[in-house]
Amino acid sequence: MAKQADLWTPALISGAVFGFLSGTPFVGALNCICCSLCVGAGVLASFLVVRASELPVTYGRAALSGLLSGLFAAAFSVLSSVLFMVVRGVTFQNQIDEAVEKASQISPSAQQASEVLVGLGAPVIILLMLLFEVCFYAPFGALGGVIGRAIFEKRSAAPPSPQTPAADPTIQP
């Protein structure tokens, strides 16, 4: 019996590593290069799954591992952001003011938006951060999983599952 690799452990490892990096000051700025840390989480998860699997990993399975790693990365990113804020003694107000200063070069009403945000309070801001990070990290993680599968899987692909439309033999070109 050849075994498919477990998805959860690789996703948790890569999500923890890249999520922590995303929330780390300065290093987290790497996400500004086409969301490279989210994509990187997916690539690492996919690499670990391909390495552990006895069967060729499909693109769908690689995407799922990337998606899971993106979800874990989002949670770890928010956790480490809050952790670093506490360690550095920075408040949300400082963070938002810093962002507003940058954004006001493009959008003069960034100040108004920041006032709305500050009024929400820390728990709501953390929840919003988590929500947006989940929305972005999950699809970009899945993309990373697909990229990782394309790079690291050298074995010939398993025949697609019969549930996928592409596999239907009755359809002729």
């Binding site: 019996m1 969301c35 954004a103 493009i106 993309l143 394309a150 239907d168 070109p173």
Partner: protein, 179 residues
């Protein structure tokens, strides 16, 4: 509807849905610039803040619309546009009975290489003044990625169902498959 037509429609659903989602994403990327023009400053600032999680948003390295920069840089927006074009190409190929599975993986790696090379060239002091290289390499990668992402997304529900079965009935699935 005959089984043939139904299966054909199912094959077109994935790329069509992804093309639509990609188009919505591109509209969201362009929205802040248009909102700025319409005077919806606060909403525009909110959109920019959300996309700042993904991109550096340097105005000097972004496309401008109605005099304002869009929410992401040239490279990111080119990748997104290339992805939408790729989904449309997959859709067209599927209509012609092709592109049922992903191409060999090394092709995607090959399409990723120009972005890396262009980035290396730029950091080594060869400026891409017009953004032409960033646009081209971004579109090429986004276009190619669609040919891999579409089959992956189509396989995703079955994989999710399998994983859910493994969690809910660990003994029955025994965490393996016959080779």
């Amino acid at each position: 509807m005959s089984a043939f037509t139904e299966l054909r429609a199912r094959r077109l659903l994935g790329p069509a849905a992804l093309a639509l989602a990609g188009t919505c994403w591109c509209v969201a990327v362009m929205a802040p610039a248009l909102m700025h023009d319409m005077g919806w400053e606060t909403v525009a600032a909110f959109f920019r803040a959300v996309f700042s999680l993904l991109c550096h948003q340097d105005p000097g390295r972004s496309f401008h619309l109605a005099g304002s920069p869009i929410a992401v840089c040239i490279r990111c927006s080119s990748i997104y546009a290339g992805f939408v074009l790729g989904c449309v190409a997959v859709l067209a190929a599927r209509c012609a009975g092709r592109a049922r599975t992903a191409p060999p993986g090394r092709l995607l790696a090959a399409c990723l290489a120009p972005i890396a090379l262009e980035w290396l060239a730029e950091t080594s002091g060869f400026p891409d003044a017009m953004g032409l290289a960033r646009t081209t390499t971004g579109i090429v990668f986004g276009f190619a990625a669609a040919f891999y992402v579409v089959p992956a997304v189509e396989e995703l529900p079955a994989e999710m169902a399998g994983e859910l079965r493994r969690i809910t009935h660990p003994a029955r699935s025994a965490h393996g498959k016959a080779s």
